[in-house]
C-alpha cells in the first residue's frame, strides 16, 4: 500500500530531556496504527512534531512525498492531517453545535466560501452539504446529538473527548491522529467509545494513528503498533507481534500494568 506519511529520523531534545531520538515511521494509506508507551515515552511529542506544534531538531516529515517538516499546525491541518488532544481542546463558552459550526466555518473560509460577500449556504467541501447539516450528521455519528445545545464547559469527560474528536472530522482529514481518545473513560466504556469513533472515522475515510494505554484496546483496534520507550521506537509491528516482544513487555506493557494497579489502588482507597 502507498505510504502517505513518512517520518524520518526525528530527534527532539528539551534541554536535558530526550523527547525523540531517530524516530522513523512510514504510515500506509487507510491503516490504523496504535502508539503505545508509558507517559513521557515520546508518543505525544511524535504527534506534536507531525502536526507542526514543535519542530524536530533533526529529521524530516513527508506527506504524500511533500516535505511538511517546517509547516505550522494550521498548514498541516489544511493539507488534511488533523489531531485530537489528550486534554480536550474545546470552545468552552460555546455550545456543542456552535463548536462544530466554528470548525466548519473555518473549512468553508479556507475553501474561499462563506466570505463577506457570499450569499446563501454553500456546501462544505468534502461533505457536499451545508454546514448545519454536516454538523448535525457528525454529531449524530458521535452520538452527541443529545448534547447539541449544551455548553461545552458543562459536558462530562467522555463527551468532551468525543466532541474533541468530532471537531477533527469537519476538515475531512486524510490522516487523523488521536491522542489518548479513551483516557479518562472507564474501562467498560472504552470499547464502546472506540467502536463508535472508529466507525465514524472510517465512514469519513481516514488513516488513523491513536495513542492508547489499554493493551486490549490496542490489540483490538490497531492493525499495527508503534511502541515508544525513552524517545525511541522499540517495536514497529502487528499488535500480536509487538506486544509479545520482550522489550515491549518489559518497558511498556509492564509499565502499563503497574499503572493500572496504581489506578485500581487509587480507586479502592
Amino acid at each position: 500500500m502507498a505510504v502517505v506519511l513518512d517520518a524520518r529520523d526525528l530527534s527532539k531534545r528539551f534541554g536535558a530531556v530526550t523527547a525523540a531520538m531517530n524516530v522513523s515511521a512510514a504510515i500506509e494509506q487507510d491503516s490504523v496504527v496504535g502508539l503505545i508507551g508509558t507517559n513521557g515515552a515520546g508518543k505525544t511529542t511524535f504527534i506534536n512534531m507531525i502536526t507542526g506544534y514543535i519542530k524536530p531538531d533533526t529529521g524530516s516529515i513527508h506527506y504524500r512525498g511533500r516535505d511538511i517538516t517546517a509547516l505550522s499546525p494550521r498548514e498541516v491541518t489544511r493539507i488534511g492531517i488533523c489531531r485530537s488532544f489528550q486534554i480536550p481542546q474545546l470552545y468552552s463558552s460555546l455550545s456543542v453545535f456552535e463548536n462544530m459550526m466554528v470548525g466548519l466555518g473555518v473549512v468553508l473560509r479556507n475553501a474561499g466560501l462563506g466570505g463577506f460577500f457570499s450569499r446563501g449556504q454553500p456546501n462544505v467541501p468534502g461533505h457536499d452539504a451545508p454546514a448545519e447539516d454536516v454538523a448535525e450528521r457528525i454529531l449524530q455519528r458521535f452520538g452527541l446529538s443529545d448534547y447539541r445545545n449544551k455548553n461545552a464547559q458543562v459536558l462530562p469527560g467522555g463527551v468532551r473527548k468525543l466532541l474533541d474528536i468530532a471537531l477533527t472530522m469537519v476538515a475531512k482529514p486524510a490522516i487523523l491522529l488521536l491522542d489518548e481518545p479513551t483516557s479518562g473513560v472507564s474501562a467498560e466504556e472504552k470499547f464502546g467509545m472506540m467502536e463508535m469513533v472508529m466507525a465514524a472515522v472510517k465512514a469519513e475515510g481516514a488513516t488513523v494513528l491513536f495513542v492508547e494505554h489499554d493493551m486490549e484496546v490496542v490489540s483490538r483496534f490497531a492493525e499495527r503498533v508503534l511502541a515508544f520507550y525513552d524517545g525511541r521506537i522499540i517495536a514497529d509491528a502487528a499488535p500480536e507481534i509487538a506486544l509479545s516482544d520482550p522489550e515491549v513487555k518489559r518497558y511498556v506493557v509492564g509499565g502499563e500494568l503497574r499503572r493500572m494497579d496504581e489506578r485500581e489502588g487509587a480507586a479502592n482507597a
Binding site: 506534536n48 488532544f85 486534554i87
Partner: protein, 298 residues
C-alpha cells in the same frame, strides 16, 4: 564625562522613585492578577497623609529628624485605613470576573477616591519641605544634589531586597508562591487564600503610599497627583515583565536612565520617550524582559 556622570546620577534618583512607585503594582499583579488602578490613589493618599501629618509634626515643633519616621508612619496608617476597606469591601467580590472588568472596577474606585481625597483635604496644595532640606546636600560631578534623594534610593533598595527575601526566604513567602502558582489548589490545601490577597493588596498599596509619602516633601501635593503615576508605573512593570520584581527594578532603571539622557541630550523627546521604550521592548520581548514562563497547553 562629567555630564554622563550627571545623567547617571539623575537617572538613578528617578529610577529609585519609579521603582518605589511601581513595585507594589507588580506585586499585586503577580499575586492577584489584577491590574490595580487604585495604586495611583494610594500614592496620592500617602502623599496627602504625609503632608498633613508631618506638617502638623513640624508645626508642633517636635524633633524634625523624626519627621522621616512620621512620613513612613502616615503612609502606613492611611493604607491600613483604606486598603482593607477596598479589598474586603469591594474587590474580593469581584475576583471571579474578567481581568478587564476588575481593571474597570479599580478605575471606578480610583475615580471615587480622587473625590474622597478632595473632600478630606480640599484642593489647596500641601507642603512639607523641611524633610527635604534637613539633610543638606552633596556634590557629584560639580553639581549639588539634595542628600534627601539618597533616602528614596535607600527605600528602593530596602523595598526590593526585602520583598525578594520575604518571598524567597520566609514560610509566608513560600505559601504566597503556592497561592500565586494556583489559588484553587492552595485553597484545597487549606491555605487561607483570601487572607493572602488581603495582605498582598494592603502591602502593595502601602508601597505606593510610601512612594507618595516620600515624594511629598519634594513637590506640592495637589489634586490629581496620582493620575500620571499609574501609567508611568505600568510602563515600568510592563517593560520589566508583569509580576516580576527584578523586572520592575530593571524597568525602572532603564526608564530612569533613558529619560535623564533624553533631558540632557534631546529635551524635545522627553515627553514620550518612556512609551517609546515600552513599545520598543514589547516589540522584541512581547512579554517584557523578565517574562514568566507559559504553562504547557497540550
Amino acid at each position: 564625562m562629567e555630564e554622563i556622570l550627571t545623567v547617571i546620577v539623575d537617572g538613578i534618583f528617578y529610577s529609585a522613585w519609579l521603582f518605589v512607585a511601581a513595585i507594589g503594582l507588580t506585586l499585586i499583579y503577580g499575586v492577584m492578577k489584577i491590574v490595580n488602578l487604585t495604586h495611583g490613589s494610594f500614592y496620592a493618599l500617602g502623599a496627602y497623609a504625609a503632608a498633613s501629618l508631618t506638617g502638623a509634626w513640624i508645626a508642633r515643633g517636635y524633633p524634625p529628624m523624626l519627621s522621616y519616621a512620621v512620613l513612613l508612619g502616615s503612609a502606613v496608617i492611611v493604607t491600613l485605613v483604606f486598603a482593607p476597606l477596598i479589598e474586603r469591601g469591594v474587590l474580593r467580590f469581584m475576583y471571579t470576573k474578567d481581568e478587564v472588568v476588575i481593571l474597570l472596577i479599580t478605575y471606578a474606585l480610583f475615580l471615587i477616591l480622587e473625590d474622597v481625597i478632595k473632600l478630606i483635604w480640599g484642593v489647596d496644595p500641601y507642603f512639607i519641605a523641611e524633610p527635604y532640606g534637613l539633610l543638606g546636600s552633596f556634590e557629584i560631578g560639580g553639581l549639588t544634589h539634595p542628600t534627601y534623594n539618597l533616602i528614596l534610593v535607600g527605600i528602593a533598595i530596602v523595598a526590593g531586597v526585602g520583598l525578594t527575601l520575604l518571598l524567597r526566604g520566609t514560610r509566608f513567602g513560600k505559601l504566597l508562591r503556592t497561592v500565586i502558582h494556583d489559588p484553587e489548589v492552595s485553597r484545597a490545601m487549606g491555605i487561607n487564600v483570601d487572607r493572602f490577597y488581603l495582605v498582598t493588596f494592603t502591602f502593595g498599596s502601602m508601597l505606593a503610599a510610601v512612594g507618595g509619602a516620600f515624594t511629598a516633601p519634594t513637590v506640592s501635593v495637589v489634586p490629581g497627583i496620582g493620575v500620571e503615576i499609574v501609567v508611568l508605573s505600568f510602563a515600568v512593570i510592563v517593560i520589566g515583565g508583569m509580576g516580576s520584581l527584578p523586572g520592575a527594578a530593571l524597568g525602572a532603571v532603564i526608564v530612569g536612565l533613558v529619560r535623564s539622557a533624553a533631558i540632557h541630550y534631546a529635551p524635545a523627546v522627553e515627553l514620550f520617550v518612556i512609551y517609546f521604550v515600552m513599545a520598543l521592548v514589547l516589540a522584541f520581548r512581547p512579554r517584557g524582559l523578565f517574562s514568566l514562563a507559559e504553562p504547557r497547553k497540550i
